[in-house]
Amino acid sequence: MRNWRTCIAVLFFWSTGPFYSVPAFANGPIVAAAASIRPALEELSARYNQVTGQSVRLVFGSSGTLANQIVNGAPYALFLSANTAYVQWLVDLGFTQGVPVTYASGVLALYSRPGLLGQTENPLLALGNALEGGTIKRLVIANPEYAPYGSAARAALEHAGTWVQAKQVLLVAANAGQAVQYALEGDVDVAFVPMPLARLAELQKTGHLQALPSEAFPNVELDQQMVLLPDADQKTQEFFAYLQSIDSREIFSRHGLGAPALISPNLQH
Amino acid sequence: MLSIRIENNTPALKVDFRLPMGTLSAIVGPSGSGKTSVLRAVAGLLAPSHSLISFDNDIWTDTETRYFRPCYQRPLGFVTQSFGLFPHLTAAENVGAALTHLPRRERGLEAQRFLELVGIGGLADRRPSELSGGQSQRVAMARALARKPRLLLLDEPFSALDHSTRKRLRVELKRLQDALAMTVLFVTHDLDEAAELSQTMVLLRRGQVVQQGPTRELLRRPSTVEAARLMNFANLAKAEWVDSDSSGITLRWGDVLLKAETGPKSPPEGPIYWTIRTTDVFLVKDGHPDESSLGTILSADVTEIIEMGSSVLVSVIAARGGGELLRLRLRPGALHRHNVSKGSQIRIALNAQSLVLLQS
């Protein structure tokens, strides 16, 4: 009989564990970030821990989902988006603290199966030729409706005059991360993917990966903004500042993200 | 006294009768007459729209005051047609289920006692699926008796059993009732069973009481045509009321005058019916010393003879009677002794005491 009682006591304390957990900030502020900058941010937070001894918790998802969660009460302290539209949306709704800061600029990369396009300075031209020639069966982009990398891809194709043909073999992924997944596993000939994620998935090993200059997709900004959220505390602000430092800039660029076009006035170093 | 008054729509019931305490009473009627519903209402398993049920001045149901004592608070035992034994318990545990007020050890002992009382002490560890019909019935009986109820309700308790088991159990029921001094109310469609076991009888048809009273009374003197039909009285004839005097009532049946000892003193509204038990119609032998003491004597022609085991049913038509067939029961020996055969003419006697007048 005594065994039963201790068993139940242990069970009780174990099961109520999650209810004891103090508010979300006990283990460091939660930083919500777009999935496409995952590798960069993971390295950054590890470095931050090394340097300052502080830690942050990272949650990744698509910018849209995260923004929606924030609006519905998610306990995030800082939001790193891959799509400025969502940041602006949050600002308009009053869910932010302070002014958004551009932390990096996204880089659109063109991935192609080995040997398909050959070594070329103008991959989009080569792509156009391949489309004409019918050697492309499947082309992946993220959804241009709401993914910035998707609309950049579409702009690039339109600018190169090959959008109409591309549509015939187009496969639309739900988000940029999924585009990378298709490129990795699917029977895909060409994919427009975010460079950081492509590098993480090591697409350069399975095919040809080439960054596209921002002129290739005019009128589309791949600026990535971050903004403090109402729950941000001192610790969050410190991390926020760190993300704008030279250190961070270097780590971002190593993961395939460009420097922000403008130097933000909030830069502290 | 067990007082039962029920008015209900579905199932349709309109009954009002009282039964004496400590006796074995039967509710008899064809299927669909509402007998089971009455029993369930008494048990507290049915809540009629209007009802007043009390047992020995203890009110169990009273719709006027909105009082309804739940079944489990009534001191009764109930054996249903299909016994309702708990399939997951042994026979002893089934009986023990009625003894939840006792601690476990005593429960087992009491259960065993009652199983022995009904004659199946050795089957205590069997499950209902391992018992025969008769054995299951006894377990159900033991379970109903275990709490020493003051009222025992039985719903066609023997109908699912074979003939010999039925006979045996009827005897045991009588014995138990004597031994435990309970009031027993049982429901049956079998008139013979009711006649054999009960001291009081209630005839039910289409949810209404046709007649009620001491069994012997009912069996001898049905009050209405309906009652007579329900009790399978073979003889039923229509007559006219003629006269009433100190010796009885005179009726005209066809061309003859019949005399009944008891009946309405003044001319009733509408026709009057009469009946007589087949065993009360006598065959008049030639050379009878005092024929006038037998009652009204009529000539009749034999139309049919049916031999049924130890008795013979003879159908006759009285020559000057009202035209209805009369039936009498004879011993097989009498048949041959008096040369009764189809087509032959015999004389029958209708006794004034045996003639029962019925309202329609």
């Binding site: 979300a24 995952r38 918790r57 609006v71 990378v180 | 709490r147």
Partner: protein, 225 residues
């Protein structure tokens, strides 16, 4: 292997079971015994989570119980907890999504208990509670066990609702299934596969044990019949 996430999954399953089983038993039993005309509608209502995509359920839970909603605000002011992005929120969502698994098998099991037995129990002077514990439950427990096993298995693998309502907060709402998804997103198929294999094993063993108990009972019944 994210043991934290596994622990969280277990805790979620434990709480869901503890709270949902009584609800399932009460509701299933009531559905089995009631005569109301609305019965088919009620059954359909409780079966809804089976046909609705879990992400849809999660999304509407987010909208209706999130901190922006009146209900969410009420709960926050009364209890000081939020039902979104928190473990309590996961428990609530999990209970809702598992309703059909907890109610349907129980309902079927209680339907088998004939009204004749209820009458007999009442005539044995058994109070309604005694009838429940000594007659109904012994006859209906396989259904309850079935409900428990299904709920457990389903909760361990629950993903859509948990993701929507809980987010992916490590240590709080990152259950094992979410952790697996997280690893997939991070292009770490090895870790994902490892955890998925583990989850599969646990679920298989649990469900098999549950059905094993039922098997043994059937065997016992067959032998004694």
């Amino acid at each position: 292997m994210d043991w934290n996430a596994f622990n969280l999954s277990l805790q979620l399953a434990a709480w869901t079971l503890a709270l949902l089983l009584p609800i399932g038993v009460v509701t299933g039993r009531w559905l089995a015994r009631t005569q109301t005309l609305a019965r088919p509608w009620l059954q359909a209502f409780f079966a809804l989570p089976l046909v609705l995509p879990p992400t849809v359920v999660g999304y509407y839970l987010l909208i209706f119980t999130g901190t922006r909603s009146p209900l969410g605000e009420l709960i926050m002011s009364w209890f000081g907890v939020s039902l979104v992005f928190s473990f309590p929120g996961l428990v609530v969502a999990s209970i809702l999504v598992n309703l059909p698994f907890a109610i349907l098998p129980v309902q079927r099991a209680f339907e088998v208990v004939s009204s004749e037995l209820y009458d007999a129990a009442a005539c044995c002077a058994m109070t309604p509670w005694q009838t429940f514990t000594r007659v109904e439950m012994p006859l209906a427990w396989p259904g309850v066990l079935s409900a428990a096993v299904l709920t457990l298995g389903h909760t361990l693998g629950e993903f859509g609702v948990v993701l929507m309502v809980g987010g992916n907060i490590p240590g709080e709402t990152r259950t094992l299934s979410i952790a697996i998804f997280d690893r997939v997103q991070a292009f770490d198929p090895l870790a994902a596969g490892q955890m998925a294999g583990f989850l599969l094993l646990i679920s298989l063993v649990t469900v098999a044990l549950g059905y094993g108990v039922l098997e043994k009972r059937d065997q016992r019944k067959r032998r004694s019949a």
